[in-house]
Amino acid sequence: MADAPAHVPKAAAPTGPPDPPPPADVTAPAFIATLHAAVPGGVTHVSYWLGDWTLVVPAALILQVAQHLRDAADAAFDFCSDVTATDWPPRAEGRFDVVYCLYSTRHRHRVRLKVILGEQQPLASVTGVWPAAGWLEREVYDMFGVGFTGHPDRRRILMPEDWQGHPQRKDYPLEGPGELLLENPIEWLKLRQSREQADIE
Amino acid sequence: MIDTLVIPLLKIVIVLNATLVSVTYMVLLERKVIAWAQSRLGPMRVGPYGILQPVADAVKLMIKEDITPVRADRWVFTIAPIISMVPALIVYAVIPFGPEVKLFGRQVTLYITDINVGLLYIVSVASVGVYGIILAGYASNSKYPLLASLRASAQLISYEVAVTLTLVSVIMMAGSLSMVSIVRAQQSSHMWYAFVQPLAFLIFFIGGLAETNRAPFDLPEAEQELTGGFHTEYSGMRFALFFLAEYANMIVVSSVATTLFLGGWLRPFPNVAFLSFLDFIPSWTWFLVKSFVFLYIFIWVRATLPRYRYDQLMRLGWKVLIPLAIANLVVTGIIKVMLL
């Protein structure tokens, strides 16, 4: 929704989850060390909270990291539980967190990957690694407008094909776009601005 | 004059009305029996125990809007239900409900006519009915009915073969194509043909299920797959005609099966003398009771069995029933030649 006005939050908006580093008494599982070795620079931050391990991965390396985590014997994350995203509009590093929840049916352990992504920045699709990600990535595209490159079927999934905007973004109006947005987005924008102006006055 | 015109006309009126009434009550019976099988009550609102439900159904269907889709083939769309209904009714002309009885001092036969090619007449007329389904599916100009009519034509053709082959073995036993003679032949041979020709009887029944599009062979109108199949686009009275034709066909199959295999109007063990006290029951009652048993089984099967798939249905027809029917025919022929 490039033509929508940037939302200016009243209170200071949160700029992302804290992602605390693991405390000293928790030992990281072996696959993280292996991943460090196999994909240099593949993990920029390791976090441990409430028993969940989260790895922050640079956007450029997501395919290599995914491939390694699926194939490495000590990781074997063959089951992609979930792909989703979180919108943090004012964050400097990038607006979106794209989150991959992975599970290994062999070792029965979980890990979360997180990619921090700018608004117009594309991300490589992991459908080649986990076919399960196909629809999940379509939903992230539909709801957040994250463009996945190399996705075999990049269409909207829940919203109609001709929908304007991406509903799960924080600046998407909660009341919905209304008829006007669908038919004439520019008129809608003017109307909204005039209403805001009236509120201020 | 009376014998040639009035009595036959009266008989036609009576048989047609009786058929139509029993067809509407078949619908009620089906709903009731299936309800009991499924631990429900079935229709209970119209009349005591829902006994007047057919009247309500008829009124509803008659006053419903009769829709013809814009892009349908208007003429064929109108004719199709008629083609489907009429053969189901005119088959009754040769079905014997009983032998000759004395009524008001006159010898009256309890059948409309007894033509010497009765069975051939039934087979040929009944197979016209499928045109109704095929044309309905074609004329609707819609995809689901089209698929259904393709299914129907393939299904009816392949099961027609098996059914007709079993009929041939019955004809060989009786030595006649006339329905009345076939019953008489069973009387003189002291045996219902169901016991002489058990395999033919079974194949005829299965084929009958398939030819009337009844579960588990109700593919042309598979509600869950084809949303009602060939009559998807039909409403009101035209839909009712298809509906009634299906039940009329069920009654035809039951009547033919009764006549050919269960001795028609004959009481059980027609030649055992000490059972002759059963003769006080009119002969047509036996016929009705036997047909009713068939109809009940038709409904019972529907409440119990899942539906076959198209290819499995074809396989059953061509690879099982037709070879069995041919084998039965050959064995019948050999025995007939050896023994007589």
């Binding site: 979930d82 029965r108 979980r110 990600a133 909207r156 | 798939r309």
Partner: protein, 376 residues
Amino acid sequence: MDTPVIHHGAMFDTNELVLNMGPQHPSTHGVLRVVLRLDGEKVVDADVVIGYLHRGIEKLSENRNWTQIILLTDRMDYVAAATNNVGYCETVEKLMSLEVPRRARYVRTILCELQRIASHCLWVGTHAMDIGAMTVFLYAFRERELILDLFEEMCGARLTYNSMRIGGLPLDIPPGWDKKVLEFCTIMATKIDEYEELLTHNRIWLERTKGIGVIDGPAAVALGLSGPPLRGSGVPRDVRKDEPYAAYDEMEFDVPIGTAGDTYDRYLVRLEEFRQSLRVIRQATEGIPEGPIVGKVPRLIKPPAGETYHAIESPKGELGYFIVSDGKSTNPYRFRVRPPSFCNLQGLRTLIKGHLVADVVALIGSLDVVLGEVDR
């Protein structure tokens, strides 16, 4: 859809038929739409279109407070509302590091398993109905009614229960309820045999389900299938066993798995799950401990900033909640559901290729999707 391929040059031109199944169709279980490309009756390709029931539950939840969301979760998998409640409450409890009393965990286990039976009842009925066996449907609904009665007594509602609170339960079980649950277990055990009598050894049922929609274990895992469709392919994956929640770590039960990965094995797995669920219900009801039903929950529910993912085993598969809290407001910053039906439905396209139209409805039924959950 691309335009149908027309093969020229043959004596008779044949072209593929594009058949639109749904969103209004008797056996697409709601508002699923499947666009089939048919060669005769054979499915060449399919496009599964969803979204007709999208109500924006995720977006709505981000603007409700933490307790109000419980009743929104009811509306996702509406045939297994209690399971959704448990999954959500446990995720928030994990986020707040709350301790749930043992009694509450036991009652949650009972409700989850009752819900699993109710959901499987609905499934066995509709699945058999899709294949043409109409009687099983009525039988299964008869038993589902008993479960709904139990739920009604427990929380006053019959479909959308709103039966959990963060930190425990809103109400204790009514007196005598546990006895009724045990009675139900006795009745249900015989009724399962009744369903099996009608279906399991029925030749037509076997022909219709064996070898239909075969998928092997690794492919099923890669496709993201979970729950009975995954276990039917022989993968012993059950969140109740692998990552126990509620009181499942104290329960004894088996995880049934199939071998062939076809529709029939998925059917057998679910029927066996009926029995295992009854086993768990019996253990939990007999061993239900005394004690409080709510833990120490602060008056204002405001989890600390952070994010977590928590999964439970819903009747359909792995039901996961990914919740982000910003630690400042009284509503979640991001509320995401991993709906098992959504991920299972993704496999439909792979499963139905090469099968006939009649198998399409069998396979939709065998995946057991609830569109309220797929579309949210």
